[in-house]
């Protein structure tokens, strides 16, 4: 899987959570999307961990700045044994 494929799978998850369609791009971040508040964020993270079967390490999600960073993090965790 590469970043584009990860973002495309993320798109499905976001479409499921958000009411208004949001087109995911590597530079998009939470502050660009009115619906993306902290409650939605919690829900998104649980859904992402489940969909990708990954588990983020403590504190690392908040270090990502945008969708691209986040996709890279998913990729990194996917490559773990």
């Amino acid at each position: 899987m590469n970043q584009i494929e990860v973002i495309s799978k993320l798109q499905d998850i976001f479409d499921n959570v958000f009411l208004e369609p949001v087109e995911l791009t590597p530079l998009l971040s939470a502050k660009d999307v009115p619906e993306w508040d902290s409650l939605t964020h919690i829900s998104l993270m649980v859904a992402v961990e489940k969909a990708f079967s990954v588990r983020f390490r403590v504190g690392e999600v908040e270090t990502t700045r945008n969708v691209g960073d986040f996709a890279d993090l998913i990729l990194k965790r996917l490559q773990e044994p």
Partner: protein
């Protein structure tokens, strides 16, 4: 993905949206799915998409604790609204509960909560000394943890009169200390267990325990915790257990408002025994210790019998020939349940919904007091459609699951078991004997006389409070105002000199009826206003209401009141008392759609003659 459908319903403003949302919420056990549904609910509110049905006043629910109460507050808000009792939620700061509770001027008290959830911090439930300290020392410290918690809870209650829900402590799920953990009270494992036990056993009536120890045990200790979510956002537990906890809290709130069910109605074939009695005969049905299936059915019957011992009425509703069905109970040696355990036995070929309605009529109970159990989906569907209000349990195909389905149905959970509950079947059975006597004596007066009734009228006492609250919260038919009150409300009334409050207990030659009538009246400028007047329908037409009025008039006179004011608030269920006041000589003073008010001038009132001997009156020495 099926979320698209519900979103389309929302975006198109469809009235089906709310039904779908409630159904999805009920079915979901996923934390993230519940949040998504909650987001949709809030979106719908923003779009002024209004749920059909009654608009309920919001209950004010405050959350305080040693954890971040975000996002728990959102889950609770969502689940409460979906259950039909929307809440306005106030959330305390992370781990600020002690000062929020101790400070009389805190925002918590300004919010004027009606229900308060307290989630005490786990780190304050830890033994401070050594594992090897004397057991007395360790025990004393556990006692102090419980006492300080109970003090906080007591302060909360005295200040707000709110019902309080407290979460108890989750036990550790790691091997730390090994087998030694259970040989000392100093380990987190035993210390918290001890604290949880003491907390539950010492809980005052207004305190409800949200048993997180049990919920974590049910889910599995390791799955219940999530260290990462504590470091990142100060969560009390894993998202899975947080969902379980939110559901449990909502269940506790519901149980404060709704009485538990009263009657369990059972199908027979393949429900309480295996096989079909009409086809397989007495020897052919499976019940008893001779086969694994027979054992499973027997265990199910034993559990049903223990419900009866807790005060639940049992009944039978089966498509069967009456004689054949009755024979199984009379002659099968392994049968745990006997004919006399049932207050009603309908084995016939009428639709089950009709039988249930008939039963409700005979027992003077609403359909919403009934739970119907059957293994046949078609029968369950008929009852759902044609006897709405009856809760149903559709048993699975494996009888070893019958017992667990009953244990997990959550319909018969006692709040406080009262002594009256345990004797209830006897009361209903002697009702049948009384009815037999009634048909023998045609003249009502001689019938009432022959019953040799005795009543004890008592002012409210703290000992009676659990039973009073139970009656106040479940009586629907003979209930003039249908005002519900919590145990906490009643304890407050006990100390209020402006109120006259009494209850009536009735006995007759067939047995005890227990506490069956409640009156609450408020004195205001020479008038005694009847705030609450209700009576159990078991004692209809026994002149208890006449004695209640006599007592009211007597108490009004001792307080130098010259008038009694009666109020009737119509509901779907209390039409039977619509004309109670005029029948007793009250004059109508006001009438509109929501209320009728009446006055009784005491100068014109003569005590009503009855056949009840009054053994004691309220506010009088014994």
């Amino acid at each position: 993905m099926h979320n698209r459908d519900i979103k389309t319903l929302l975006l198109s403003g469809s009235p089906d949206f709310w039904g779908q949302l409630a159904a999805r919420t009920r079915a979901s056990s996923d934390f993230d799915e519940l949040f998504m549904l909650s987001v949709l609910r809030k979106k719908a509110h923003l779009r002024h998409h209004i749920a059909p049905g009654v608009v309920h006043e919001k209950t004010r629910l405050a959350l305080v604790g040693g954890y971040s109460l975000y996002p728990l507050h959102d889950l609770l808000e969502h689940l409460c609204e979906m259950e039909g009792f929307p809440c306005e939620v106030w959330r305390g700061e992370f781990d600020n509960y002690i000062s929020e509770i101790m400070d009389d001027a805190s925002d918590l008290y300004r919010f004027q909560p009606q229900i308060i959830l307290l989630m005490p911090a786990e780190h304050r439930c830890k033994y401070s000394g050594a594992l090897t300290d004397a057991r007395e020392t360790q025990q004393a410290e556990a006692g102090r943890v419980v006492q300080s918690l109970l003090k906080l809870i007591c302060k909360l209650h005295e200040k707000t009169h709110a019902e309080v829900i407290v979460t108890n402590f989750i036990l550790p799920a790691r091997h730390d200390l090994g087998a030694y953990r259970s040989r000392t009270l100093g380990s987190d494992w035993t210390f918290r267990k001890w604290v949880n036990l003491e907390l539950g056993l010492n809980a005052p009536p207004y305190l409800h325990i949200c048993d997180m120890e049990f919920l974590a045990h049910r889910r599995g200790g390791i799955e219940a915790r999530d260290e990462r979510s504590w470091y990142e956002s100060k969560q009390p537990c894993s998202s899975a257990l947080l969902t379980d906890t939110a559901r449990e809290i909502v269940n506790l709130i519901r149980s404060m408002r709704q009485a538990p069910k009263k009657v369990l109605v059972l199908d027979l074939d393949n429900t309480i025994w295996g096989g079909v009695i009409a086809d397989d005969g007495l020897e052919g049905i499976e019940i008893g210790d001779t086969s694994p299936r027979g054992e499973a059915f027997k265990a199910f019957q034993k559990a049903i019998l223990s419900l009866k011992q807790r005060g639940i009425l049992l009944a039978v509703c089966s498509k069967n020939d009456h004689e054949k069905a009755a024979e199984a109970f009379e002659k099968h040696p392994e049968m745990v349940l006997k004919m006399e355990d049932f207050v009603s036995f309908k084995a016939n070929w009428e639709p089950k919904s009709d039988n249930l309605r008939q039963m409700a009529h005979e027992l003077n109970l609403g359909l919403d007091s009934f739970v119907f159990v059957d293994d046949n989906p078609a029968e369950v569907e008929i009852v759902r459609q044609f006897a709405p209000g009856v809760a149903t349990i559709l048993l699975g195909p494996d009888p070893s699951g019958h017992l667990t389905q009953l244990q997990d149905c959550r319909l018969f959970e006692p709040q406080n078991i009262t002594a009256e509950d345990a004797g209830r079947t006897d009361q209903y059975r002697s009702d049948t004997q009384r009815q037999a006597l009634c048909s023998a004596i045609t003249d009502m007066d001689s019938y009432l006389e022959s019953l040799a009734m005795e009543a004890v009228i008592s002012e409210f006492t703290s000992m009676d409070v659990p039973r009073l609250a139970q009656l106040i919260n479940k009586s629907n038919q003979f209930n003039l105002t249908t005002r519900r009150r919590t145990e906490a409300d009643l304890l407050a009334l006990l100390r209020n000199p402006d109120y006259v409050c009494f209850s009536i207990r009735l006995n007759d030659r067939f047995g005890e009826h227990g506490l069956i009538s409640v009156v609450i009246a408020q004195e205001e400028n020479g008038t005694l206003k009847i705030d609450t007047w209700l009576m159990s329908c078991r004692v209809l037409k026994r002149q208890v209401e006449d004695e209640a009025l006599n007592e009211l008039a007597r108490l009004a006179r001792t307080r130098n009141c010259c008038r009694v004011e009666g109020i009737y608030v119509p509901t779907a269920k209390n039409a039977m008392v619509r004309d109670l006041y005029p029948k007793f000589g009250f004059l109508l003073s006001l009438e509109n759609e929501t209320v009728r008010k009446f006055n009784l001038n005491l100068d014109d009132f003569q005590p009503r003659p009855t056949k009840i001997a009054i053994k004691r009156r309220a506010y009088e020495p014994n």
